[in-house]
C-alpha cells in the first residue's frame, strides 16, 4: 500500500519534568480506515501515547504527524457537561468551532440517530445509564467527522453486555464512516475483536514489544467472538504481554 498514513509516530519519547520516563522511543504509523488496538499493563504509558497524539502533551523527543484535518478523542469517562441536555452536549463541539446554529442542530441530530439515542435528546446526563453516556461522548465527536479517532479505554467501566453491544456499534460506525482509529484497552479480547492490528506495550516506561496482525476482514459478525482463530490471536497477544517485561 502506498497511501499516506493518517497518523505517524516517529521515535516519540516522553519523560516528565520530575524525571519519570513514561514512554520509550516509539514508532508506528496508522493507515487511513485502519483500526489499531493498543494493549499494555496499567501505567505503561498508553494514555500518554494518546495524549501526545492528540497534542495535549508535548513529546520530549521525536515527532508526531497527523494527516487528518480533525482528530477525535473519546476519553475513559464520558466527560459530559452535566448541566446540558444530550442534544446540547452533542452540539458543544460544533459550537466551539463556531458553526451556525442550524448546521449544529442538523449534525447533532444525525449523530444522535447514528448512536441510537433518538428520544433522549432532552435528557440530562445523570438520567442516562453508563453505556448511554458513552454513546453521547462518542456522538459529540461524530459531529466533527474526524479522520482519526483516539479511544482511551472508552468501555472499560461498562458491564460485559453493554461493552459487547458498544463494540458492535463501534464496528458498524467504523464500517460506515471509514475513520482511522487507535483504540487503547486493557481487554485483550476487545482489542482483537475490534482491530486489524494489535500493538502490545511493555511495562512502564512503555515501548512497543509486539505488532500482531488480526487476520479477519470487516464487517465482523458477532459470532466471530467464538471463533477459535480469534482465541488463538488473543493467546498470542496475551503471551506478548507476559513477555513484555523481559528484555
Amino acid at each position: 500500500m502506498t497511501t499516506e498514513p493518517a497518523l505517524v509516530f516517529d521515535a516519540v519519547e516522553k519523560t516528565y519534568a520530575d524525571g519519570t520516563a513514561a514512554l520509550r522511543p516509539t514508532s508506528f504509523s496508522l493507515n487511513p480506515a485502519e483500526l489499531t488496538a493498543i494493549v499494555g499493563p496499567s501505567g505503561c504509558g498508553k494514555s500518554t501515547l494518546l495524549r501526545i497524539a492528540a497534542g495535549l502533551v508535548a513529546p520530549t523527543a521525536g515527532t508526531v504527524r497527523v494527516v487528518a484535518d480533525r482528530l477525535g478523542f473519546v476519553f475513559q469517562d464520558p466527560t459530559l457537561l452535566p448541566w446540558r441536555t444530550v442534544l446540547a452536549n452533542i452540539e458543544l463541539l460544533s459550537e466551539l468551532h463556531g458553526l451556525p446554529a442550524g448546521e449544529r442542530r442538523r449534525r447533532a441530530l444525525d449523530a444522535i440517530e447514528s448512536v441510537g439515542l433518538t428520544g433522549f435528546e432532552q435528557h440530562h446526563p445523570k438520567q442516562l445509564s453508563g453505556g448511554m453516556r458513552m454513546r453521547v461522548s462518542l456522538a459529540r465527536w461524530l459531529t466533527l467527522e474526524p479522520g482519526v479517532f483516539l479511544f482511551d479505554e472508552p468501555f472499560g467501566a461498562l458491564d460485559e453486555l453493554t461493552r459487547e453491544r458498544l463494540n458492535d456499534e463501534l464496528l458498524r460506525l467504523f464500517g460506515e464512516l471509514g475513520f482511522a482509529a487507535l483504540f487503547v484497552t486493557h481487554s485483550i479480547f476487545e482489542a482483537v475483536f475490534l482491530s486489524s492490528r494489535v500493538l502490545v506495550m511493555s511495562d512502564r516506561p512503555g515501548r512497543i514489544v509486539a505488532d500482531i496482525t488480526v487476520p479477519f476482514d470487516y464487517p465482523r459478525p458477532q459470532e466471530l467472538r467464538f471463533d477459535p482463530t480469534l482465541a488463538e490471536v488473543a493467546g498470542q497477544v496475551s503471551a506478548a504481554l507476559r513477555d513484555g517485561g523481559q528484555p
Binding site: L71, F73, F75, D77
Partner: protein, 261 residues
C-alpha cells in the same frame, strides 16, 4: 397528610415549648414590677404584632432594611464574582487577595465602623459598606471552589477544540460553579440582613430601618415592640436566605445531585 405532619411536628412542638417557657418565665419568674423587661408572648402579640402603630413603623423599616440588604448584597455579588474570576484567571490575584479576604472576614465590623464614618459620613453608603464587608467572603470563595473543581477531562475537551479562555469561563467554569456559588450566596444573603441591621444600629441616621427601630424601642423601653422588631429581623433573614436557596434550586435542579429530593 400524616407524613407531612410527622415532618413538621417536631418543629411545631419546639416552638410551642419555647413560647410556653417564655410565658412561664415572664409571669412566674420575674417579679411583678419588673415584668415590663420581659413581656410575655401575649403582650408581644397585643402591643406589637397586632398593634397598628407598631406594625406601620415596622413595615416601613422592614422595607428600608430589605433595600439596604439587597443593595449591599448586590455590590458584594458583583465584586465577589469579579474577584473570584480574576483569582481563577491569574494565580497572583489569588495569592495577593486571599489573605485579605480572610482578614476582612475576621475583622470586627463594629471596630471599623468609626473609620467608615470618616470616609462616608453617616450615609446610606457607609451602611452599605458594612453589609458588603459582612456578606462578601462566601461569594468569591465558593465561586472559586466551584470553578476549580471542573473535571480535568472537560478541560482537555475544550483544549482539543480550541476554546479560548472566555469561552471556557462561560461554557465550562461558570456553569460548573453554580451549585457551589449558590450555596455561598445563600449564606451571604442571610449575612447581608445581619450586616444591614448592624450598620443601622451603628450609624443611626436617615429614615429608620429595623436597626434604628431596635435601638429606639430599647431606649424608650418599649419591650413588646422591641421583640416584634427582632422577630421581623429574623423573618427577613430567613426570607432572603430562602429566596436565594429557591433560585439556586431552580437553576441546578435538572442536573445537580444537590437538588435531589
Amino acid at each position: 397528610m400524616k407524613a407531612a405532619w410527622r415532618r413538621i411536628a417536631p418543629a411545631v412542638v419546639t416552638a410551642a415549648a419555647v413560647i410556653a417557657i417564655w410565658e412561664f418565665a415572664s409571669t412566674e419568674l420575674v417579679s411583678r414590677h419588673r415584668q415590663f423587661l420581659l413581656p410575655g408572648p401575649g403582650k408581644v402579640l397585643t402591643d406589637g404584632l397586632l398593634d397598628a402603630t407598631t406594625m406601620r413603623q415596622i413595615a416601613a423599616s422592614l422595607w428600608l432594611t430589605t433595600r439596604l440588604s439587597l443593595f449591599g448584597l448586590g455590590i458584594a455579588i458583583v465584586f465577589g464574582v469579579v474577584i473570584g474570576v480574576a483569582m481563577l484567571r491569574f494565580a497572583w490575584v489569588e495569592r495577593a487577595s486571599y489573605p485579605y479576604l480572610v482578614a476582612l472576614q475576621a475583622v470586627p465590623v463594629l471596630a471599623i465602623a468609626p473609620l467608615l464614618t470618616v470616609a462616608f459620613g453617616y450615609s446610606f453608603w457607609a451602611k452599605s459598606i458594612i453589609v458588603v464587608i459582612i456578606a462578601f467572603f462566601p461569594i468569591p470563595t465558593t465561586l472559586l471552589l466551584g470553578m476549580k473543581s471542573v473535571d480535568a477531562g472537560l478541560i482537555d475537551l475544550f483544549t482539543l477544540n480550541g476554546a479560548g479562555w472566555w469561552t471556557r469561563l462561560r461554557k465550562l467554569y461558570f456553569p460548573n460553579a453554580l451549585p457551589s456559588l449558590f450555596a455561598g450566596l445563600r449564606i451571604s444573603a442571610g449575612l447581608s440582613v445581619i450586616g444591614a441591621i448592624v450598620g443601622e444600629l451603628f450609624f443611626q441616621q436617615g429614615s429608620p430601618g429595623l436597626g434604628e427601630r431596635i435601638y429606639a424601642y430599647q431606649t424608650n423601653m418599649q419591650y413588646p415592640q422591641l421583640y416584634t422588631a427582632i422577630i421581623f429581623s429574623s423573618l427577613l433573614g430567613i426570607a432572603i436566605f430562602s429566596f436565594f436557596g429557591w433560585i439556586g434550586h431552580r437553576i441546578v435542579r435538572s442536573w445537580h445531585e444537590s437538588a435531589q429530593g
